[in-house]
C-alpha cells in the first residue's frame, strides 16, 4: 500500500498542531505502508514564505516532497477577504479568493497530486481550510481521505467546503464534537468516517522528583503546557488563578510551560519555565496535581491526552465543546465556565485526593483505550481496509459552478452559519444550542 500525506507544512522543527499531527500519522503509518509526504517549502504559517528547499528529502525515515508556494500571504488582503466572507453576504468567488489569500497557494503541489494520484492508494489531506487540502482533495477525489482538524471558527461556515466534505472517500475526525459540527455544517453523514485523534509517546516512568529538583519547584502545583496566548485562554486563566491565590485556602501554584506571547503576571505563585523538551514536559505533568486547559477552541488537545497518559486530571474550559466532551467521556477531568466553577472545581481536585486519583486513573485508562498509538494505527488501517472493500463510490466532489454562478452574492456570512450550528459536547444525545 502506498499513501500520500498532504500537509501545508512539514518538518522536524514544525510544531503546529495539525502539522505535528500529520507528521506523527505519517511516521506511524510508515510501519504499515509506503508513505510519501507532499507539502510546501513554507515553514511559517503566517507568511508561507519559501524557506525550505523544494524536492525530496527524508524526515525521520519518511520521504518528503516539497513544492514552492506561489505567493506569500498578504495579511492585509487576507484580513479584508476574511472580513468579507465571515461578516457579509458574499459569493463563492469571494470564498475562493479568501482561500487563495489564506494560502499556502502552491499550484505545483496540486498539479503533482492530480497527475500522480494513481501512484497512491489513498491521499490523506490535513486541515480542510487550507489551499492544499481543498484543491488537492478536488484533484484526487477518489482517493482523498480528509483529516479536517476543524475548530469552531467561521471557516467551517463557508459554502465552498461543503462539496469537499461531502465528496471525499472518508473523514478521520479528532473528536465526536468535530464530527457533529461537520455533519451539521455539510450534511455529510453518509461519508465513511471514524473518530481517531492522535496518539502520543508517553513515557512509562516519568520522574517528578527530577523535575522538581531541576527547576527548584516545591509544593503542589498546577501546570499549563502550550503557547501562552490570549487565544488559548491564558489571560482568563491568569485572572482566575490570581483570584484563587488571593484566597488563603489555595495552596497550589501555577507552572507555565511554553513560549509566551502574553505578559505573565509577576506573582510568587505563578512561574514561567519557557519551552521545555518532552522529557521535562512529561516530568512536569507527572509532578503536577493537575493540568490546566483554558483554551476556548481545540479540535483535539494533545496536551490533555498526554496529561491523562501520565495519570493526571485536567481542568478544562467548558466553553470548548471538545474539551468538555472529552472530560465527560473520559471521566478524567473537570471543567469550568465561570470563576466560581473554576474555584470550586480546582478546590475539589486539590483537596479530595481520592477524586484526583480517580480522575487520573480514568484518564490513563481513557488514553490507553483510545489514544495509544497501536489503537490509532489500527483505526487508520481498518478504514483503508473498509474503503478497499467498498465498491467505487458514486459520490464525488461536485464541480465548481459557472462563472456567473460563482459571482452571485447569495451566500450568508459564515459567522451566521456558525452560530446556527449545534453546540455542546457530543454525548450521544441532542446537543443544545449556545445561548
Amino acid at each position: 500500500m502506498k499513501l500520500a500525506v498532504v500537509a501545508q507544512r512539514y518538518g522536524q522543527a514544525i510544531n503546529g498542531g495539525a502539522e505535528l499531527h500529520a507528521r506523527y500519522i505519517a511516521e506511524h503509518l510508515a510501519k504499515h505502508a509506503e508513505v510519501e509526504v507532499l507539502t510546501t517549502c513554507a515553514a511559517d504559517y503566517v507568511t508561507w514564505r519559501n524557506e525550505l528547499p523544494p524536492g525530496v528529502e527524508r524526515v525521520n525515515g519518511v520521504a518528503v516532497r516539497r513544492f514552492r508556494v506561489k505567493h506569500e500571504r498578504d495579511p492585509k488582503l487576507f484580513g479584508q477577504r476574511s472580513s468579507r466572507v465571515f461578516e457579509r453576504r458574499h459569493s463563492l468567488n469571494d470564498e475562493l479568493r479568501w482561500l487563495d489569500a489564506e494560502g499556502p497557494a502552491s499550484p505545483a503541489l496540486i498539479a503533482y497530486v492530480r497527475t500522480h494520484q494513481a501512484d497512491y492508494d489513498y491521499c490523506l489531506f490535513f486541515s480542510y481550510r487550507y489551499y492544499q487540502a481543498y484543491h488537492g482533495a478536488r484533484a484526487a477525489a477518489p482517493r482523498a481521505i480528509l483529516v479536517p482538524t476543524a475548530e469552531r471558527d467561521p471557516a467551517i461556515g463557508l459554502a465552498m467546503f461543503r462539496p469537499v466534505l461531502r465528496g471525499v472517500r472518508a473523514l478521520m475526525y479528532n473528536s465526536d464534537e468535530e464530527r457533529a459540527m461537520i455533519h451539521a455544517a455539510s450534511g455529510n453523514e453518509e461519508v465513511p468516517s471514524v473518530v481517531v485523534g492522535i496518539g502520543s509517546d508517553v513515557p512509562q516512568n516519568p520522574q517528578p522528583a527530577r523535575f522538581r529538583q531541576k527547576f527548584n519547584i516545591r509544593g503542589p502545583f498546577a501546570v499549563y503546557v502550550g503557547r501562552i496566548d490570549q487565544n488559548k485562554g491564558c489571560k482568563e486563566l491568569f485572572e482566575f488563578f490570581q483570584a484563587y491565590l488571593r484566597d488563603s485556602s489555595g495552596r497550589l501554584s501555577l507552572v507555565l510551560i511554553g513560549h509566551s506571547l502574553l505578559p505573565v503576571p509577576e506573582h510568587p505563585g505563578i512561574r514561567h519555565l519557557g519551552f521545555l523538551d518532552d522529557v521535562d514536559k512529561f516530568d512536569a505533568m507527572a509532578a503536577a496535581e493537575l493540568l490546566m486547559m483554558p483554551s476556548y477552541f481545540e479540535s483535539l488537545s494533545m496536551v490533555a491526552l498526554e496529561a491523562w497518559g501520565v495519570g493526571r486530571p485536567v481542568l478544562a474550559n467548558a466553553r470548548c465543546d471538545v474539551l468538555k466532551g472529552q472530560c465527560i467521556r473520559s471521566n478524567a477531568g473537570l471543567y469550568y465556565e465561570t470563576y466560581s466553577e473554576f474555584i470550586e472545581a480546582l478546590g475539589a481536585i486539590e483537596r479530595n485526593r481520592w477524586l484526583s486519583g480517580a480522575l487520573g486513573r480514568n484518564g490513563r485508562q481513557f488514553f490507553r483505550e483510545h489514544y495509544d498509538w497501536p489503537v490509532i494505527e489500527r483505526k487508520y488501517l481498518d478504514m483503508f481496509d473498509r474503503l478497499s472493500k467498498e465498491p467505487h463510490p458514486s459520490r464525488t466532489i461536485a464541480p465548481l459552478p459557472g462563472w456567473f454562478a460563482r459571482r452571485r452574492q447569495e451566500l450568508p456570512p459564515s459567522e451566521e452559519v456558525l452560530a446556527a450550528l449545534p453546540t455542546g459536547p457530543s454525548l450521544g444525545r441532542p446537543a443544545g444550542r449556545r445561548p
Binding site: I328, L334, E341, A345, N352, W354
Partner: protein, 380 residues
Amino acid sequence: MPDFNVRSDSVNVEQIMEQIRARIREKRGVDYTEQQLRELAAVKLEKFLDPRGVRSDLLDQFKRRQPTYEPPVLPSFTFEDTTIYETHRGVLAFIRRLLNPIFKLFFNPNTIVHALHTQADLNKVNAEREAVREKQRLEIDALYYEVIHNLVFEMTRLGIETKNLKMRVESIGSRLEFNERRARALESAVVYRSPSDDAIPEPPPPPPPAPRSQPPANAYQRPAAPSFSPPSPQPSSTSASSEQAPATSPGQGPAEGPGQRSRRRRRRRGRRGGTSASAMMSSGQTPSTLTTSSGQAGSAPAPATTADRASPADADQPASPQTTDTAEPRVSLEQAFATDVQPTETRAEEASPAPAPAPRPEPADPAPGTSGDPGDHNQQ
C-alpha cells in the same frame, strides 16, 4: 471542602459538576446565616484592606489605568464642490470635468455638496465639544481617584489599629487569667506555722547535693506519702512514726534534716485541716505567719489552726484516707498548670538533674506549680 457523594471507583464527572454547581448556587442563595454573612463581609474587607496588599502607589496605578484621551482619527471631512470629481488619474479628472455639464443634466450635485459640507462642519463642532467633555471627565476622575485613594488608606489604617487593639485586649486577658491562676496557686500553697515550730532547733546544714546520675525529680510528680517520713534520730513528738517510714526515694532530691521534715509535716497537717487559706481569710482568721511554698515567711507567730491542734497524728499515717482526700485539689491544680505551661514543664524536667542549691535552709514544699516559677513561664 466538598465531600462529594460519589464513590471513588465510579467517578462521574457530570455528577461532580452538578454537585459543584449546586454548591455554588447554595453559596449564592439567600440562606446565609448572620454569622456567615459577617464572615463573608470580614473576608471581603480584609482582602481589600490587607495592609500587605495595599499599594503605596495606588494613585499612580489609578492614573496609569486611566487611558489618556486620544482624539479619534477621523478621515478628512472637508467637502467642497469639486470633491466628488477628484481623482489621482489625470485623464479621468479631465473626462469628468468634460462630462460635468452632462452629469448636471441628470441631477443637481450642488445640494448634495452643500449637505455634505454642512455635515462636515457639524462633525468638527461635535468633535471639539467631545474633546472638552472628555477633558472635564478626566479632571473629575482624578478627584474621584484621590478620594478613593484616601479612603482606602484611611480604612487600612483603621483596620491595623483595630487589629492592634484586639491583640492588646487578648494579651491583657491572658495576663489576667494567668494572674488569677497564680493567685489561686499561691492561696492553696499557704501554710500556717504552729508555735511549736519555734521550739524546733535550726536544721543542720543540708547534705551535699545528689549526684547527677541520680534520676531527676519530676517537678510535677505527686509526692508519695512514705517519701516524706524518713527515719529520724531526733526526739520529737513525731519521731516514732517517722522511724517507721521508708527512706527517701531516689527522686526526692537531697537528704533532709529531721527538723525540716517535721516542719514540713506540720505544714501539711495544717493544710489538711479542711479549711483553705482563702476561707480562713474570709472568715476573719488572719494568720500573721504565712509561709509560701517558695519559702517566703511572715515574721510574727500565729496561733495554730484547729486542725493542727485537733489531729496532730493524722499526718503521720501515710495511708490514711485523709491524705488522699486532701491531695485532690493539688492534683487538679497540677492538671490546670500542666495544660497551660506544658513547655515549661519540660524545661523544669530538663533542669532538675542539676544539683539543688545547697544553702537553702528550708526546702520547698513540693506543691504544684512551685517547681517552676509561673512568672518565668510567662516571660518565655
